[in-house]
Symmetry: C2
């Protein structure tokens, strides 16, 4: 790491959420398994959750390719995807309220074990915010449910763009009134950090090797020249002297 890239100049940390901060896969499978038993519905919840996440990037890419059609928030993309998937998975008897409950499962995701303690340390010296493709309402409710101590909330709908569009990373720096090099993107995904680094932001990687379940094949380790690579959020706080 070059001296000029020293993370001591960093004033704010912005965090990817799904996978980096919260464990969407285990949270949703557990949530739907418990809920469906009470609700009297049966389904392959692990299969559905994995397919739902696979629909995530294509659903956002469709919005990114067609800006003239207007921005569609992630809650609505999640709802459209799950409506198709419950049919594909042959899950029957779901009401509108059930589909809303499932879609709002993304508001109830649980953080990885190191997250709340790590964020609490980082918050003492830095501004901390999500920079997520989630919408502000989703991220706000998730934070209240999970006790995530953000200073502010930045989601895709603030910018009318999804990552990796530059408007998101640069928009975060602009709203924080900081030059990009004083903002550090934290993610478990090398491609997210690559997009941020290209625009001048600092970068921190944490591996989340179980994000996609036991068969995960990508993002098992840092593959770029990131400013910080740490085992977890506590390790980032150590590196930043918090």
């Amino acid at each position: 790491m070059a001296e000029s890239a020293a993370p001591t100049a960093v004033k704010a940390l912005i965090f990817d959420i799904f996978g980096t901060v919260v464990d969407w896969r285990s949270s949703l499978i557990e949530d739907f398994t418990t809920w469906s038993a009470t609700r009297g519905v049966e389904g392959d919840w692990a299969g559905l959750v994995d397919a739902w996440r696979q629909a995530y990037v294509p659903s956002m890419d469709a919005v990114r390719r067609n800006p003239a059609r207007g921005f569609i928030i992630l809650d609505d993309l999640h709802r459209r995807s799950v409506e198709k998937l419950v049919a594909e998975f042959g899950i029957e008897g779901l009401t509108d309220d059930d589909l809303r409950y499932m879609t709002e499962g993304w508001h109830r995701l649980k953080p990885w074990p190191d997250v709340v303690a790590g964020l609490t340390r980082l918050k003492t010296n830095y501004i901390i915010s999500p920079l997520s493709n989630g919408n502000v309402g989703l991220l706000t409710r998730m934070a209240k449910n999970a006790g995530l101590p953000w200073d502010l909330i930045l989601g895709g709908d603030v910018f009318g763009h999804y990552k990796p569009d530059p408007e998101t990373y640069l928009g975060a720096a602009r709203l924080l009134n900081l030059p990009p090099e004083q903002v550090m993107m934290v993610a478990a995904h090398n491609n997210d950090l690559g997009a941020a680094q290209k625009l001048g932001l600092k970068t921190a990687f944490v591996p989340r090797v179980a994000e996609y379940g036991p068969l995960q094949k990508h993002d098992l380790e840092a593959t770029g020249d990131w400013d910080i690579v740490a085992a977890d959020f506590g390790g980032i706080a150590d590196r930043l002297g918090c």
Copy 2:
């Protein structure tokens, strides 16, 4: 209050900041008096602060009337105004750093005594956010300095508009994924509440009779049909059952 307007349906409270949450006048006068003694500069700080606040609405109105020129954040409007005012008040010897210190005085404002306890109670049952003409960076730094426990931060630069433009009130409801009637605007200023009410938001008034100093003549009491009128933020929490 009509039954249909019962504030029990409210899910989020959004707060005016300058005057409602923080005591800008006493904070700035005290800050500059202490600082100027150390700095070896003399000035009529009460006069300058009052004149600075008088420049506030006209400076935003100039932005509101000329949207084609682009949005200018409040930090920059504050800076432009204070540059003129130090000259008018004959305050000499100020450096660029001094003017930055003064402009950032708006990041160091102190809350009224009831605010932190009241917000902490309200946060247990409601989403709480500023809806301020301050920029996000200003409001974030103010919150960290003053210990304001916001769930998220909404400032004029999120919308590219200043209150009372409808884009601010309706934009807050949109980002919170709530219909306007589930959002309550809290302010010490009747005109702010009037603009919010016209767009379907709920309203809560708290008097801050010393905001403009001993000679304050307006907003000494509620002059509209607001959903809640309370003595302070604790009184709002009482009314909302927190």
